[in-house]
């Protein structure tokens, strides 16, 4: 038989003025299981807590009810007190007679008193069904996996590794660096992208706590927070990296030329190539789709010229596994293909290019030596029209959202054009100038004032050719007139989109993604770097378009979260989670479907003890369950109980009124 102690608080006058506390205590004493009931002026004070502790010992209480303020206020305090007296802290219940009674029924002491009595009765009834619970401790593997080696992945990896936690960095392409490696100078400060990025890339390669696995992809992830196992496919590079010195003899001699994706196809690379001079690792790979040897079995030149014998045409893809405790996804972004803008002659007019192509041209290390050049005739353009929101904010041809960074990089491009071609003239067609960031509006102003770039409000409707000029027609909505600009070159600020591979990656990681393919955060404001799955975090443009400062901030936030998980040897978890009683489970899997955290899987158990035949039952992973109780509510077999909020606890409360 339960032995309950009830401790009713005055809260000075806060409760006592509006609830007849002594009367309540007398009333409560009538409950069969209540072996002791008392009131005190300030229950949370040290003497108040002492009263509880003493009573537990004296009356051999099996559970405790404190009738005071909201559990959100002092539940922790009283749990501590109870456990100091040797009672399991989860045998405590709180009756909220302040926020829910004395403060809200101040004009009706009788009703408030009666209600307080009911609330205590309910808490007593619940406490009788309380069970001893123990904090769950989940062991963790202190190693993080970072997927994607753009600036987001690089920053997250370095921050985590600097905390002396091992990191596995998996990058799909032959080198880390991502899009930032393709950029020239960067807004809003115009520092050179390569100059600030390259040292970080080198740090990654040389960091004792980072294992860099380039040219690879994650193909599987099992487990839960603290205890994941990742499968990683290393694509065959046909170059033995441990032998290769990166001398580059092979890339020079290879006869096969392929459009160079790093330079947006402006120039060519070889079939064996390092994507760019500062690549990390600085070792070549063979592009199997274009190598003559691999395609037709003829050539083998690279192997002949390689003094180290590093070339291995027989190399195969390889799958490796790593045990890890947390994941940072940083797979970045792709650029929207502007082909649907037929009215701009995309694809037909060589001198209508995209912003990233322009970026590569003005980049000092780029294919044109840092000068913008008309692809059609190699001439340096004098009049350049920049058109913003290409594919962005265009439901008809592209996507609805704003790509966030193109206003800024277009201002940058106008400035860079001016720097590279002094007598040039830039026009920018815009609908809005979105420059919300530190120093951003000032930067746009610099483009408008210092470089004399003309901003025209309107969307361009057509580009056509007159001789070797491009005629750009649009409305200047401020003038209310149609204008036509005779341009040498047109630069389209194409939308940022997630990689097409993102949804497949999300499914394999068990996280969600939005209708565009961006990976979804757990809460847009308060949990922006977490996913709904514990232990998986998001950094950079894989979550939404953003610039470098935001990307880096998010990456560092991910690192802090990862370090938080790894701060102890085990993860401590609230024990108020759900458990399945397999005896009752019918295997309907209703629970599996409603669990927002995918905490429920199924397992096969013998039909009866020792039997060979099996049946399917639900199984809740205590490392993953967050204790929402959705599953308990849908289980028709009543096989699931949510500890701390079991059916019998709640029903007890209901029927005790």
């Amino acid at each position: 038989m339960a032995r309950v102690g009830v401790f009713v608080c005055f809260c000075g006058a806060n409760i006592a003025d509006f609830v007849d506390v002594p009367a309540v205590v007398e009333e409560v004493k009538k409950i069969r299981e209540v072996k002791y009931a008392v009131y005190y002026k300030y229950m949370c004070s040290d003497p108040g807590q002492q009263i509880i502790k003493d009573a537990i010992a004296q009356y051999r209480l099996t559970s405790v009810v404190v009738a005071a303020c909201s559990p959100r206020m002092h539940e922790k305090t009283f749990r501590r007190a109870v456990s100091e007296a040797g009672l399991n802290p989860y045998l405590l219940e709180i009756a909220n007679i302040r926020e829910h009674s004395s403060w809200v029924h101040q004009k009706n002491k009788k009703a408030a008193t009666e209600k307080a009595g009911d609330l205590i009765r309910m808490a007593v009834a619940k406490s009788i069904a309380n069970e001893q619970l123990h904090e769950i401790s989940v062991p963790v593997t202190k190693r993080a996996l970072v997927i994607g080696g753009g600036i987001a992945g690089i920053q997250a990896a370095l921050d985590i590794a600097d905390a002396h936690i091992p990191v596995v960095l998996v990058e799909r392409s032959p080198s880390i660096g991502g899009r930032m490696a393709q950029l020239d100078e960067t807004f809003p400060t115009l520092d050179c992208s390569q100059c600030i990025l390259t040292p970080k890339m080198v740090d990654v390669a040389s960091h004792p706590y980072i294992e860099l696995i380039p040219y690879s992809e994650v193909i599987g992830l099992e487990g839960y927070v603290g205890n994941y196992k990742a499968k990683i496919k290393k694509k065959a590079s046909y170059v033995n990296f441990s032998l290769c010195t990166g001398c580059g003899a092979c890339t020079q001699k290879c006869p096969v030329k392929v459009p160079n994706e790093f330079n947006m196809g402006i120039d060519k690379r070889k079939a064996i190539y390092t994507p760019f001079p500062q690549a990390v690792p600085n070792k070549p790979v063979i592009d199997a789709e274009h190598c003559n040897m691999l395609l037709k079995g003829k050539c083998g030149i690279c192997s002949k010229v390689c003094e180290k014998g590093a070339i291995d045409y027989t190399m195969k893809d390889e799958v490796i596994e790593r045990e890890i405790g947390a994941v940072v996804v940083a797979t970045g972004y792709d650029l929207w293909d502007p082909k649907p803008y037929e009215e701009y002659g995309v694809g037909r007019f060589k001198d209508v290019i995209t912003s990233l192509e322009f970026e590569r041209m003005v980049s000092a290390s780029g294919p044109t030596g840092g000068l913008p050049i008309r692809p059609s005739d190699g001439k340096v353009p004098k009049t350049v029209v920049f058109i913003k929101c290409i594919g962005s904010r265009d439901e008809a041809k592209g996507i609805e959202y704003c790509s966030k960074i193109c206003c800024m990089y277009t201002a940058k491009h106008a400035i860079l054009l001016h720097h590279k071609v002094h007598d040039s003239r830039a026009y920018v067609f815009y609908m809005d100038v979105r420059a919300a960031g530190k120093g951003y509006e000032e930067f746009v102003k610099r483009a408008q004032v210092e470089t004399g770039t003309t901003y025209l409000r309107g969307r361009v409707s057509k580009i056509y050719k007159m001789g070797d000029k491009l005629m750009v027609r649009g409305e200047d909505a401020q003038l209310g007139q149609v204008v036509e600009i005779e341009a040498d070159m047109v630069v389209l600020a194409t939308a940022i989109i997630p990689y097409k591979t993102n949804p497949a990656l999300a499914r394999l990681l068990g996280i969600s993604y939005d209708k565009y393919g961006y990976l979804s955060e757990a809460h847009p404001k308060l949990r922006p770097v977490e996913t709904a799955k514990a232990g998986i975090f998001l950094a950079g443009c894989t979550q939404a378009p953003k610039d470098i400062p935001d990307t880096v901030a998010q990456a560092s936030a991910c690192a802090a979260k990862v370090c938080g998980i790894f701060s102890g040897d085990a993860l401590k978890k609230d024990p108020m989670i759900s458990v399945v009683n397999p005896d009752y489970c019918s295997g309907c899997q209703n629970c599996v479907q409603v669990c927002p955290y995918q905490a429920i899987t199924t397992e096969e158990i013998p039909i009866t003890r020792g039997s060979k035949e099996t049946r399917t039952v639900a199984k809740i992973n205590e490392g993953v369950c967050q204790g929402c109780g959705s599953c308990a509510a849908v289980c028709r077999s009543m096989a699931i109980s949510l500890k701390g909020f079991t059916d019998s606890q709640i029903i007890n409360e209901i029927v005790s009124i």
Binding site: R72, W103, V104, L119, P596, C628, A633, V634, F645, I650
Partner: protein, 162 residues
């Protein structure tokens, strides 16, 4: 609830069951099942803001509105309650991602069930109250209490069981 001998001055007629009446000073019992993160916190705020509301509601805390098993509602009506209020986070704000959507969907089914057994659908109500909506919580309680008062005492099908 205390059962006291009351002097019968007038009477309240049940809207569902016109044959049934109750004493004029009859007070309904309402059970409120609130999610911990939004509505319970909101009801706390009502308290800290000292906003007054009718004293008929008895609050039960659950982690999420999705924890609310339809059985709890039926049990409440069978036992003592004349009405039930379930309140959770606003759509999109659920602490557990989407629990309140499940709850909402389940709630629609319960309404149909209530109609089927002949209870007025206002006996069981659902609301969204955030942690910041102390005043709204008071309004919701006042409205629910008012609605239930209009409906009169609940005719319990299985009263003999209790």
């Amino acid at each position: 609830m205390e059962t006291q001998e009351k002097e019968v001055k007038g009477s309240v007629q049940s809207a569902e069951n016109p044959g049934l009446t109750a004493p004029a000073d009859w007070q309904p019992v309402i059970i409120g099942i609130l999610c911990n993160w939004c509505s319970y916190a909101g009801s706390d705020l009502t308290g800290t803001s000292r906003i007054q509301y009718p004293p008929n509601i008895r609050i039960i805390r659950v982690p999420c509105s999705s924890r609310v098993d339809p059985w709890f509602i039926i049990k409440s009506l069978q036992a003592t309650a004349d009405g039930v209020l379930i309140s959770g986070c606003h759509p999109g704000d659920c602490h557990y991602i989407a629990g309140n959507y499940y709850a909402r969907r389940r709630f629609l089914v319960i309404k149909n069930l209530l109609n089927f057994v002949g209870y007025h659908e206002n006996r069981v109500q659902f609301s969204w109250v955030s942690a910041a909506e102390g005043a709204k919580f008071a309004q919701v309680v006042a409205k629910v209490t008012d609605d239930i008062k209009k409906l009169g005492p609940l005719h319990r099908y299985k009263k003999e069981n209790f």
